[in-house]
Structure formats: structure tokens, C-alpha cells
């Protein structure tokens, strides 16, 4: 189901600047096949579940994994067969991989040194980068003495110090605790905004992706299932995975006027008047749960369901329902208590047509 939102794609500029690639990597039964394009200044996020192939795509861009097919051009230059050390690419690895035997300064100076700078020049450049990251005071520290956030910034400085034309970040915030993460995410956003070449980041956290990137590429099982701006994807999810990420109930079916017949047999009445294959989405907060079948309900969407599970979600309780239609519903703690919900209980779920959102598949 490879689908491209033509209106949302940032195509590489006609001069050939930026990233233009189709990455095909075959490894046993797994096949990655994704086309990635981006103009200089773009921040692209590869989003997807574990094992979807995001990191493989990143490693292919870096040259750490050979391409089985496709092509890779960066600013007009063919890079398919170029070894990693000759690519103008910087990588921030998931656990940073700062060289433990070198100081923060020498870690950052490593790249310039490999690119022919003298020791003194490389160190001077590295000092400027650390200064920019607010880490001048930690230049002499070995990585093991840096906090997670500091190590992340040293890794970013190290990757940027070679002036790459393509910056790759593999789960740049995953190794941080929740509080540091907030800070570092904001800083990273600033640094990425300043970066004038292409940045590609891999994440499984939709929030990171939405905050940091201006173009989202969702990968599932080695293929792009959707791409576009964060706002567009949040409103129009195309797979369960994306819908779950943005917290929506999502169904696929055939529309006939205001009714959508789902593949499973159930029907949903929608506000939109459509024909043909469509997606229907509605948030869990739009679902109302009743113990008895409601009489004279204004909602025309009524399904008999069974409680499959419940979990606390800040001050709400998210209830998973199975039956006519598998769905999730958000209830207040009080409502859940009054309904005396427990696993296995039979309930009736209603959703107002005005709360649903249907769009062509």
C-alpha cells in the first residue's frame, strides 16, 4: 500500500540539490524499498514500529549497509557505491557511540582530523562546535563523565563538525530520561532549524517526529505507508499503526452516501457524503459507553461490544472494546465507575456521525 501524498512531498529542487534516493536493501526475507527525497534545509522523520526498516534505511544512507538496488544522489552526486568514509554524511547514533578513550573535544575533533585538518585546527573547530552546543566547560571530559543530554549534544557536534550535506539521526532522544528529553528535544529542534542541508531522523516516537520534522515518512514492514506533513498525517492516518500513534479509531470500508460498510460487516454513519473505498476515523473521546441498550438514541452509530481491557490514561480510562466493531473509548474515571466496567462485560457503544471523519482511501 505504498501511497504518496503528492501535495505534501517536498521534492528535491530541480538543480539536483538535496537528497534524491530510492533505497532497496534485501536481507533474507526482509526487503526494504523506500524512496526518500528532500530539499536542503528539510528535516525528514522516518517513523515506524520496531523492525520496520527505519534504521536499515538510515544505515543505507550512511553507506554502512550496501544497497541491493535503487539509487542515492546527494546534491547531484551519485553515492551508491561510495564507501561511508567518503560520503558527506554525519551520523548521530542511537547510543551516541562517543569514543570512550577520547575527551569530548577530541571526539568532535576526530572528524575534521580525518578530513585532513591538523591536530590544532581540528581542536579549534571542535571547540567552536562545543561552544555552540553550550558544552565549552565539558571539553576535557571523557564520555563516561557526561550526562545523557551532554553526550547527545557532543554526538551532534561530532556529526556536524565534518560539515555534512546529509545529517542522519538514529533515535536521537531515545536514550534520555523524560525530563532531559524535553530540553534536548527543544535544543535539537533549534540546531536542526539552523542546519542548512538535509537532515533525516529515525524515531518510533510520534511526538519527536512531529516536533522535529517538517516531513514525515511512515514506514511499515520495509515500505512507505504514508508520508506528508505531521499535521496532515495526524488528521488522515492510513494504517492502524499511525492511527494508534495519534490516538484515533481507524477503519477502512466502502462508502455509499453517508454510510460506510466495513470489511468486517459493521456499518458507520458519517457526516461526509462519499462513494467508494474510504477511511473512517474518530477519536476515543467521541465514543459513549452504555450498560443497557440506549433507547431513542440520537446517535445512529450503535454497536454491541464486550470490554476486552482497560488502562489508566492520565485522568482518563481507555477501554478496549471488541464485538461488532473493535474500538477504543476514553471515559472519565467516574463514568467508568458508574458503569461498573470490567473485562468481559457487555456494553453498547455509540458515536455521533458528526464526530467521525471519513476520507477517500
Amino acid at each position: 500500500m505504498t501511497h504518496t501524498e503528492k501535495n505534501a512531498v517536498d521534492l528535491a529542487t530541480p538543480t539536483g540539490d538535496g537528497l534524491d534516493s530510492r533505497l532497496v536493501v534485501e536481507r533474507g526475507s526482509f526487503r526494504l524499498d523506500v524512496a526518500l527525497t528532500a530539499a536542503p534545509g528539510d528535516v525528514v522523520a522516518l517513523l515506524g514500529p520496531n523492525g520496520a526498516g527505519k534504521t536499515t534505511a538510515l544505515r543505507a544512507l550512511a553507506g554502512l549497509v550496501p544497497l541491493s538496488g535503487g539509487h542515492l544522489r546527494l546534491d547531484g552526486a551519485q553515492l551508491d557505491r561510495t564507501p561511508p568514509e567518503s560520503r558527506p554524511v554525519g551520523v548521530v547514533f542511537q547510543d551516541y557511540l562517543l569514543f570512550p578513550h577520547l575527551t569530548a573535544l577530541d571526539n568532535v575533533a576526530f572528524g575534521p582530523r580525518c578530513h585532513g585538518a591538523t591536530k590544532a585546527q581540528a581542536r579549534a573547530q571542535a571547540a567552536v562546535w562545543l561552544e555552540r552546543m553550550g558544552l565549552a566547560a565539558h571539553a576535557g571530559a571523557k564520555p563516561r563523565r557526561l550526562s545523557g543530554g551532554q553526550a547527545q549534544r557532543v554526538a551532534l557536534a561530532r556529526a556536524l563538525a565534518t560539515n555534512p550535506r546529509l545529517l542522519l539521526l538514529d533515535e536521537p532522544l531515545a536514550a534520555l530520561d523524560a525530563r532531559t528529553r524535553l530540553d534536548i528535544r527543544a535544543q535539537l529542534r533549534r540546531h536542526l532549524a539552523d542546519f542548512e542541508a538535509v537532515a533525516v531522523l529515525v524515531t518510533h516516537d510520534p511526538l519527536d517526529a512531529m516536533v522535529l520534522a517538517d516531513h514525515l515518512v511512515v514506514i511499515e514492514d520495509g515500505h512507505i505507508v504514508q508520508e506528508g506533513t505531521p499535521a496532515h498525517i495526524a488528521r488522515h492516518p492510513r494504517t492502524d499503526y499511525i492511527a494508534h500513534l495519534v490516538g484515533l479509531n481507524l477503519y477502512r470500508g466502502e462508502a455509499e452516501g453517508h454510510t460506510v460498510r466495513l470489511d468486517g460487516g459493521a456499518g458507520i454513519t458519517t457526516e461526509e457524503d462519499l462513494t467508494g473505498p474510504v477511511f473512517v476515523a474518530f477519536p476515543p473521546s467521541a465514543v459513549t459507553v452504555h450498560r443497557a441498550r440506549p433507547t431513542g438514541a440520537s446517535a445512529r452509530n450503535l454497536w454491541r461490544c464486550e470490554v476486552a481491557g482497560m488502562e489508566t490514561h492520565s485522568d482518563q480510562i481507555r477501554v478496549a472494546l471488541t464485538g461488532d466493531l473493535p474500538l477504543t473509548a476514553d471515559l472519565t474515571t467516574i463514568a467508568a465507575a458508574e458503569l461498573d466496567l470490567r473485562a468481559g462485560a457487555t456494553v453498547w457503544a455509540t458515536v455521533k456521525a458528526t464526530q467521525t471523519h471519513a476520507y477517500p482511501a
Binding site: G90, F110, G111
Partner: protein
């Protein structure tokens, strides 16, 4: 605030009949069964007694004279020089071999590893004979070495180094390969993305990371080279001042001058203990 609490805890301990265990008990508590304890003590005695006997019979009074005699010094110096040179050979050739075995996939890698390990289990005398067949004056390679370059290895000091390196190399290769396998290869990847060639990545990143393993392997190889007897006497002979190392001198001395044999043995024992002490962080912590 803390102290009174601690006192009270200890008071409680005495009430409940003794302190609680501060940490998990190590090994078996209580009596070990006799069928296990007896052979265990016997084994311990078996290993320690000879060394104790060496100390008891040591001619402590004449020791200074024995150790300062020119023959002993000669043998000791030759041993140190040759063992160190052999270790250098092992390092220069063995570290790249270990890297190859740990990092490069190639057909027959298992076989190569087995061949590298072979000198570990091969009787050293056989190693010496094999070296003669290869590098002897009429050996497979030695013939050409002699004819083309005028290089003769057998029965020379260089031959001692060759024999010792042959026997000691596997210790270094295995130690370094193990360390390389344990080291994260992604550091090398990180280095290449920063523009380092594979060799630069090895030199500037991998080598410093595995330095402790290389050091341990080198010490091990050095100790093995220092004690080498069989391959050395077969390939290099036993010429005082040229190829007579400490173990050879000990063996020879035992025939006609047992006292100096004991003295020389004590020197080697002291060196061994020093090596063990140097490696204690690596090995003894496991116990």
C-alpha cells in the same frame, strides 16, 4: 541520627540470635562432604608442595654468589631479550591476525582459527622439529633464505626468538581476538562515518579500546616465551651466550650443579609470580 539506628539494629540482631547475613553467602556453607574435601586438599598440596620444596632447598646463603655469576647473568639477559623480541614479533603479526579472525568473514575462518590454536596443544619439541623442516638450513623456506639472503636461523639467537614466537603467538592471538569480539564494532562504524578509513578507524579507535586485552595477551605471550624449552633447544640448540636461555640453563645446571639450578628456578618462579600479579585484575577477580 544514623548511628543510634544502627546500634538499635545491632541490638535487635543480638536478640534474634546473631547478625543477619550482610551479603549472600558464597559457595556451600557448612561442612563439605569428605569425598570432595579430601581430593581437593590433596590437589592443593600437590600443586603447592613442589614450590615450597624449592624454597626449602634453596641455597639461600650462596644465593647472591650464584645469581651474580656471569653464566646466570648471561642466560637471564638472553632470556629477557629473546622473550621480549618474541613478544614484539607476536604483537606486530598477531594483532592483525586477531583482527582478521574477529572482524572479517572469509571462507575457512574456523580452520584458520584451529591452525592458530594448534601450537597451544602441540608438544613444543614437535614445534621445534617442524621449525627446522621449514626454516632449517635445508628447510622448505630456510633453503631459500640461506641461498638468497644468507640468513640462517637455526642455532642462532634469532632462532631462539623464532621458536619462542611460534609457541607464544597463539596466546596473544586468542587473547586479542576475544577482546576484539567483546568490543563493539559499531565504534569502527562511527569512525568511518566521520571520514576515517578502515585502517585509521582501527588505529585510532579500535586499538585504544582493546589495549587492555593486548597488554594481557602480550604479558601472557612473554611469560610463555620466557619459559619456552622444547622448541628452543630443538630449533636453536643450547649454546651459552647465544641460545642458552634460562630454562635451558636450569636443565643443564641440574646435571652438574643442582644448587645453581635451584637458584635459577627461583628466579623464574619470581618472574611468574610477578606476571600473575600483573594480570590479577583480569583473572583473579573472577574467583
Amino acid at each position: 541520627m544514623n548511628a543510634p539506628l544502627k546500634d538499635r539494629a545491632e541490638a535487635a540482631d543480638t536478640l534474634t540470635g546473631g547478625p543477619r547475613p550482610r551479603r549472600a553467602p558464597r559457595g556451600v556453607r557448612g561442612g563439605a562432604p569428605l569425598p570432595l574435601l579430601l581430593p581437593a586438599l590433596l590437589a592443593l598440596a600437590f600443586l603447592v608442595l613442589p614450590l615450597v620444596a624449592l624454597l626449602i632447598r634453596a641455597p639461600w646463603r650462596s644465593m647472591p654468589d650464584l645469581l651474580t655469576s656471569s653464566e646466570v647473568w648471561q642466560a637471564l639477559r638472553l632470556s629477557l631479550v629473546c622473550a621480549t623480541a618474541a613478544t614484539a614479533v607476536c604483537l606486530v603479526l598477531g594483532v592483525p591476525l586477531a583482527w582478521l579472525l574477529a572482524r572479517v568473514e572469509f571462507p575457512g575462518r574456523g580452520l584458520v582459527r584451529a591452525l592458530v590454536t594448534l601450537p597451544l596443544v602441540l608438544p613444543p619439541v614437535v614445534g621445534g622439529v617442524a621449525l627446522l623442516m621449514a626454516l632449517g638450513r635445508n628447510g622448505v623456506v630456510g633453503k631459500s633464505l640461506d641461498a638468497w639472503f644468507g640468513i640462517t636461523l637455526p642455532f642462532t639467537t634469532a632462532g631462539v626468538v623464532v621458536a619462542e614466537a611460534f609457541v607464544a603467538m597463539p596466546f596473544l592471538v586468542i587473547s586479542v581476538e576475544g577482546t576484539l569480539r567483546a568490543a563493539d564494532p559499531r565504534y569502527e562504524e562511527a569512525a568511518t562515518t566521520l571520514g576515517a578509513s578502515r585502517f585509521t578507524a582501527f588505529r585510532r579507535v579500535t586499538l585504544p579500546l582493546i589495549a587492555p586485552g593486548i597488554a594481557a595477551g602480550a604479558v601472557l605471550a612473554w611469560a610463555r616465551a620466557l619459559g619456552e624449552f622444547g622448541a628452543t633447544i630443538t630449533f636453536a640448540g643450547n649454546f651459552p651466550g647465544r641460545t642458552q636461555t634460562m630454562p635451558l640453563a636450569v636443565y643443564l645446571a641440574l646435571q652438574n650443579d643442582p644448587e645453581s639450578a635451584i637458584a635459577l628456578s627461583l628466579v623464574l618462579l619470581a618472574v611468574s609470580i610477578a606476571v600473575l600479579a600483573g594480570l590479577r585484575d583480569r583473572w583473579m577477580t573472577a574467583s
